[in-house]
Amino acid sequence: MIQEQQWLLSLGTFLPLAGVLVMLFIPKKDEAMAKGVALLTAVATLGVGIYTLVKFDYGQSQKLQFFTTNKWISPIKATYTIGLDGISLPLYILSMVITVLVMVYSWNHVPNPGNAKAFFILMLVLQVGMAGTFVAQDLILFFVFFELVLLPMYFMIGVWGGENRQYASLKFFLYTMFGSALMLVAFIAMFIVTKNHATNPDAANFSFQWFHANAPGIARNTAIWIFGGMFVGFAVKVPMFPFHTWLPDAHTQAPTQGSVILAAILLKLGTYGFVRIALPFLPQAAKTWAPIIAVLAVIGIIYGALGCLAQTDMKRLIAFSSVAHMGFVMLGISTLTPLGINAALFGMVAHGLITGMLFFVAGSVKERYHTLEIKRLSGMLKQVPHLGWILGFCAMASLGLPGLAGFWGEFPALLASWSPATILTDSAMGNHELLYRVLTVISAFGTVLAAGYLLWLYQRTAFGEPSEEFAAHGHDDHGHSDIHDVNVFEWIAWTPLLIGIVVLGVVPSLMFKVMDPAVQQLTSVFGK
């Protein structure tokens, strides 16, 4: 690990809290001021992020950089250990970018019932939790950050959400809480079991390094149970079938900003947990669980796609498409190969950009038409051409069109699952090759379904003539606000995402190059 500029990650993670502190003293009425301070903080945080990006040593991206470790809760051996490597760097930066963009978008889009100050404070707190989860290199620290996002998101959905917000937010909260309780017990059990069999139990602590070195030695049967606990915790967050039912509700009811953050970052906390914690620490259990994860992932892909076809609400459709996309990510992870995990990590970022963008568009559609019912919308290309084209672009990206970011998440995942890691096809451990091949074929069919529902959505909402009930709005004789095209705040918020989708689609090596060394190192625990 590289221990230079140790302050950098702490600064990047906790800087938003400084903004929160300042905002507490701004009177509630002075909304512009509150928004300004929040945005400024987020931009400053992003600035730190960009500096991190510049200073990152890409030649050694398998190593933890800006690494620092400090005492934190010594009696329980938890440490304040943070670091950044090729796996977490893209997600860390993505979280900062998304926060800034969401704040720009919120500038004149604070959802009902207003109160910009509280809304922006919640976003800043969320940012701390998200960034912290990606840099944490200690299980307890990871857990604390992982949970930190829970309450702000709950309030974001519950206070600023749609009609059914209370139900949706409660469901979100209880599902996540259930998962994390089991996860915590699994963490503690892993610690104690590791400590008991280690050669130097006195050195035991909760840092990832310790578990890297010692946890793989846990007896396989014990490890399978511990992995199970973590599996539930992470799978709820991803969300994997059958723990996904909170997601469509949460997404549908959340305000646009909440949906974007949820889709772009929060879901990734779960998959990141699998890659960072569950697989490398418990490789012996991962072997057993991988086929199960793969099957659930493929069920998720097909189920999500079929769910999409049944939706009448645009936002709900996008939410179900998330289930399908995260299925691809989990499929990539379940192969235990470098290619699969690279694909999964790429898919996480790509899904963040694309689905985040789709939720932005959905939010703007809702704002203009006051509905998201697909059958009432049509002719967007005529009425709001820019918005229509952006929707089309995102739909193409989402269905995995080569040349756009989405492709590089799905295609390599399929390739990887055709030939999973040798430990999964090793006859001594049970041969799962056939299973994975069948799953590959089924999930390939899933991509066809994805093309189907996305094009169908696009065809119904964007093509044709504007429907009569909205056609008149352009002239504003109903006293409603105009159905206008993309405004300047939206352009500022969206352009970086659109550029990101294209750039990552054309030059995927930008990310693969950063991630691959770290992934290679990670998968080395599974042998050749």
Partner: protein, 504 residues
């Protein structure tokens, strides 16, 4: 017969108790000579007395060094001591008492109750608790327990003309006295077994070797039952919700935090010093109590409509987590992690729960109600109180980065540390309960943040009196700090060596 020889008193070690005792007399006198409209001064004095008693605790901690016998002499040594365990808990009781004084100031003054007497009783009860932390003998445990309970009975019934308050007092009194009578019967048997009331002697006599006699089982069980009433463990909790609801809210805060903590301290002293080798008796018993307490407390809390009553059941269920750690003491060498977990739990829980009650009191000044529905839309007109309440509830639910998570973490760790069938099963029961518990805490948050303001409610900004602001600041900062840097509290926890324990 041995000739009587006067014990040597270590006045420095006894100073906290002496300051409190002098303070009680002072408040009584002041109350007598000060005209009625200036009686508020008794509250101020009581606060100062509690802080004053904290001073010797600090000097003892800094200068004291090892264990000190408060009374030393032939056959007396080791019965009333000051060790780190005692100091930490004395500090906890004194500070909780101080916060309760802050909570009481306006409530007692505005209610037109007898202020002087109220504070005298409060101080007496705190004195009992402070004594409990030092007691290492059946007699002093009993006297301390009664000293802290008897004033509390009266405080619960403080609203003289309020039927609910009367009822609260009587229920608390009858069950409390009955419990201590049962406990005394157990203690008399303990004395019969050991031939001494000194706990460490009893601990040596009740061993694992040889067959367990029936009288030992009865003695251990009766003593635990007696304390179970005090800590409102299910099925001995029936008084708690009624008493909490009926008593004046500051008293409820006091009972649910300080008095309960003192009960746990007594129980810990008994288990660690007198029964360390009787785990075949107390482990199954406490295990079942813990599981029942967590589960029943939670399930009943789920359907409460009154916030104070809900907090009462929540505090019952929180007690279950402490019992969980205690049940697992002395299993596979987990006594130290259990002891620390309990102390840390008590401290964090005290800060959090007192804070929650401070908000309840502040809000009730406006709404005159503790019904959960009266909290609707609180965020719109009292955002500060709402955020504080959210922090406290989240801490009670155990959500990082607020104190409660660390408390729960410690309890789970003690259970998992002990391992085996007993440890793992209770840990899983606990985890399930932790999730269920969030459901009712979240109900209150939902009410405050998402529900509309009830019809006809006054929504001008809520004025919070200075003493409540102080109480909220102390408890809020503590709750946050314990969660973000639990190191500070964990360090305190690891200091607590309970003299005489771990050697059985």
């Amino acid at each position: 017969m041995i000739a009587f020889s006067a014990p040597i008193v270590d006045y420095h070690a006894l100073a906290p108790e002496l300051v409190l005792a002098a303070g009680i007399c002072l408040v009584l006198l002041v109350d007598l000579f000060v005209p009625a409209h200036r009686r508020w001064i008794t509250g101020t004095i009581s606060g100062l007395v509690l802080l004053g008693a904290l001073l010797p605790v600090v000097t003892l901690a800094v200068l004291g060094g090892d264990v000190r016998d408060v009374l030393s002499g032939d056959g007396i040594s080791g019965r009333y001591v000051v060790d780190n365990f005692a100091l930490v808990l004395k500090a906890l009781f004194l500070l909780s008492g101080y916060v309760v004084v802050l909570l009481s100031t306006n409530e007692i003054e505005d209610g037109g109750y007898y202020q002087g007497e109220y504070y005298v009783l409060l101080l007496s009860s705190v004195l009992g608790m402070v004594m409990m932390a030092s007691s290492r003998d059946l007699v002093s445990v009993f006297v301390a327990l009664e000293f802290l309970s008897i004033p509390a009975y009266m405080m619960a019934a403080w609203k003289k003309r309020d039927r609910k308050s009367n009822e609260a007092g009587v229920k608390y009194y009858l069950l409390g006295v009955f419990a201590s009578a049962v406990m005394l019967y157990g203690m008399s048997l303990l004395y019969g077994i050991a031939g001494s009331t000194k706990l460490s002697v009893i601990g040596e006599k009740i061993t694992l070797s040889g067959p367990r006699t029936g009288i030992e089982v009865i003695a251990v069980v009766f003593v635990i039952v007696g304390f179970s009433f005090k800590v409102s463990a299910v099925p001995f909790h029936t008084w708690a919700p009624d008493t909490y609801e009926g008593a004046p809210t500051p008293v409820t805060a006091f009972l649910s935090v300080a008095s309960k903590a003192a009960g746990f301290v007594g129980l810990m002293i008994m288990v660690y010093l007198a029964f360390p080798l009787a785990r075949d008796v107390y482990r199954p018993f406490l295990w079942v109590l813990a599981a029942l307490t967590m589960t029943v407390g939670n399930l009943v809390a789920l359907k409460q409509k009154n916030l104070v009553r809900m907090l009462a059941y929540s505090s019952v269920s929180q007690g279950g987590f402490i019992l969980m750690a205690l049940a697992m003491a002395f299993t596979n060498g987990s006594e130290e992690s259990s002891l620390r977990a309990i102390i840390v739990y008590l401290i964090i829980y005290a800060a959090t729960n007192l804070g929650a009650f401070a908000v309840v009191i502040a809000v009730a000044r406006r709404t005159k109600s503790a019904e959960i529905s009266s909290y609707g839309g609180l965020f719109n007109y009292a955002p500060g109180l709402t955020v504080m309440m959210t922090l406290f509830l989240a801490s009670l639910a155990g959500i990082p980065p607020l104190g409660g998570w660390y408390a729960k973490f410690g309890a789970f760790r003690a259970a998992v540390d002990a391992g085996g069938g007993w440890g793992y099963t209770i840990a899983i029961v606990g985890a399930a309960n932790a999730v269920v518990a969030t459901a009712y805490y979240i109900t209150v948050m939902r009410e405050m943040w998402m529900k509309p303001v009830p019809e006809g409610a006054d929504t001008s900004a809520v004025k919070v009196p200075a003493s409540l602001v102080a109480a909220l600041t102390i408890t809020g900062l503590a709750t946050l700090a314990f969660g973000v840097v639990p190191g500070i509290i964990a360090k305190v926890g690891s200091l607590t060596d309970l003299t005489g324990a771990f050697h059985g």
